[in-house]
């Protein structure tokens, strides 16, 4: 069985209408960098495919001090924006030029680990996702959207239309560790955000990628950081907590054991980098 119909709706309304008419057997594709290899390899055999390229969801706009990212914004556009440096860095560390030109920010939220590098940064920024279908529109925290390995809260008749990044306080660091420097699958990806009042941490996010069924928040590590002054003892303790609470897996890139060890190392490095960065800026 091969693709017999390919739809290219010109508006969101058309796309939603097609989806409700054809149901879940209509495969939605954004950049296609995850979906097309599956189709070409004969693993995915959709009869009908809908491309989202022309539905007009590819804008990035500042909003209320934060950012509004259309679901089909390419990773290249995310890399080029200057509003949220951690998102540009996350995009820069994702895949290669050619994949970034096709691959979308929305698509990254569906990519199973070890993929999903941009999702990790978005999680540390408390991002929300907007979902729209024939029954209307709803907004969910990204942490509630990703529900398991390859599963999300998206209903069969819904599309992901946008990602909202609120105006959040604090400094950020993003570290992706792979076997190579560029264009490499992640062993572990770490995104941290820390807000402080003077020396004291008032709010912290530690998001991890490639060490669980989807991007995860290391909540115990976050709890260790809040109230600390990011002193070496607190950083070590947070790194240890993150290593304990992650849920790593074995694959061709790394063993679960190694991934856990690298969580310990790279959470510590990310936090140390953040401290150094703040010290330099404060001069």
């Amino acid at each position: 069985m091969t693709v017999v119909e390919y739809f290219l709706p010109r508006s969101l309304a058309q796309a939603v209408d097609l989806l409700s008419r054809h149901g879940p057997d209509l495969l939605v594709i954004a950049g296609g960098t995850v979906a097309m290899p599956l189709i070409n390899d004969g693993i995915s055999l959709p009869r009908q495919v809908m491309g989202l390229r022309f539905v007009g969801l590819d804008e990035i706009e500042p909003s209320d001090g934060g950012l509004r990212i259309g679901a089909t914004t390419t990773l290249t556009s995310l890399l080029r924006q200057r509003h949220v440096p951690m998102l540009a860095e996350a995009a820069r560390r994702t895949a290669s030029w050619s994949i970034r030109n096709m691959g979308t920010v929305g698509g990254n939220l569906f990519t199973p680990p070890p993929g999903g590098d941009v999702a990790v940064a978005l999680l540390a920024l408390d991002a929300e996702v907007t979902l729209e279908g024939s029954r209307g529109r709803r907004t969910l925290a990204l942490s509630e959207f990703q529900t398991g390995f390859m599963t999300t809260a998206l209903e069969p008749q819904e599309l992901l239309t946008g990602i909202g990044v609120p105006a959040v306080a604090g400094e950020t660091t993003y570290v992706k560790f792979g076997r190579k420097e560029a264009n490499t699958p992640s062993v572990v990806t770490v995104a941290v955000r820390v807000a402080r009042d003077g020396e004291v941490v008032t709010d912290a996010r530690v998001a991890l990628g490639a060490v669980g069924p989807h991007a995860l928040r290391a909540r115990k590590a976050e709890a260790v950081l809040v109230g600390s002054s990011l002193e070496p003892g607190a950083i070590d303790e947070a790194a240890e907590a993150a290593a304990e609470e992650c849920e790593p897996f074995d694959d061709g890139i790394a063993s679960a054991w190694y991934r856990r060890a690298m969580v310990r190392l790279f959470v510590r490095r990310a936090l140390e980098e953040l401290v150094q960065h703040v010290a330099l800026e404060g001069r």
Partner: protein
């Protein structure tokens, strides 16, 4: 493909067993389950809609309960058929009553929402399946991780269902979280 794990559910083995054999309950708790009907005393047939990244498909499912020893144990033989392949296998599960285990909040005899409940059940499962067709080309990590996710979500939903069904005395509050530990 192999899966194994255990969960603690906030109801007695009898209630868990009955719920697991009730098509209406199964329809409500199985992720993506769109239809289910009983076609013979211990046989069910239904359809499952899974919209996975890169794959949009409806799967036909057939499940037969075998070696049932209610309410302690049962086996399930089943087949899931979709455009990209077939998954066929067998799973066995055992139900044991747990009454003295410290509850989620450390107090004995309290459910995951702190409510006092009569008993709880340790559900242990182990399953093996053979994947055929294009789907078999995927790394087995994908199928196993996905199966573990769907089982965890299904059992979480089953637990909510059991708590709701038994909550004529005090309404359930909050989201129950059965402890899960895939082996």
């Amino acid at each position: 493909m192999k899966v194994a794990g255990h969960h603690v559910l906030d109801a007695g083995p009898r209630e868990v067993f009955d719920a697991a054999c009730d098509p209406a309950t199964l329809l409500a708790v199985i992720p993506g389950c769109e239809a289910i009907e009983q076609v013979a005393p211990h046989e069910y047939q239904g359809s499952l809609v899974l919209r996975l990244p890169g794959v949009g498909a409806t799967f036909r499912t057939f499940v037969r309960l075998v070696d049932a020893d209610p309410p302690h144990a049962a086996g399930m033989e089943g087949r899931v058929e979709g455009p990209m392949g077939t998954i066929a296998g067998r799973a066995d599960f055992g139900l044991t009553e747990v009454d003295d285990e410290p509850a989620h909040d450390g107090r004995p005899g309290a459910g995951s929402d702190g409510r006092s409940i009569a008993s709880r059940t340790l559900l242990e499962y182990r399953g093996e399946a053979v994947i055929q067709g294009p789907l078999a080309r995927l790394d087995s990590r994908f199928a196993e991780s996905l199966a573990n996710t769907l089982i965890a979500q299904g059992l979480q939903a089953l637990n909510s269902h059991l708590i709701e069904a038994s909550s004529t005395v005090a309404p359930a509050s909050g989201r129950p979280s059965p402890r899960e530990a895939p082996e």
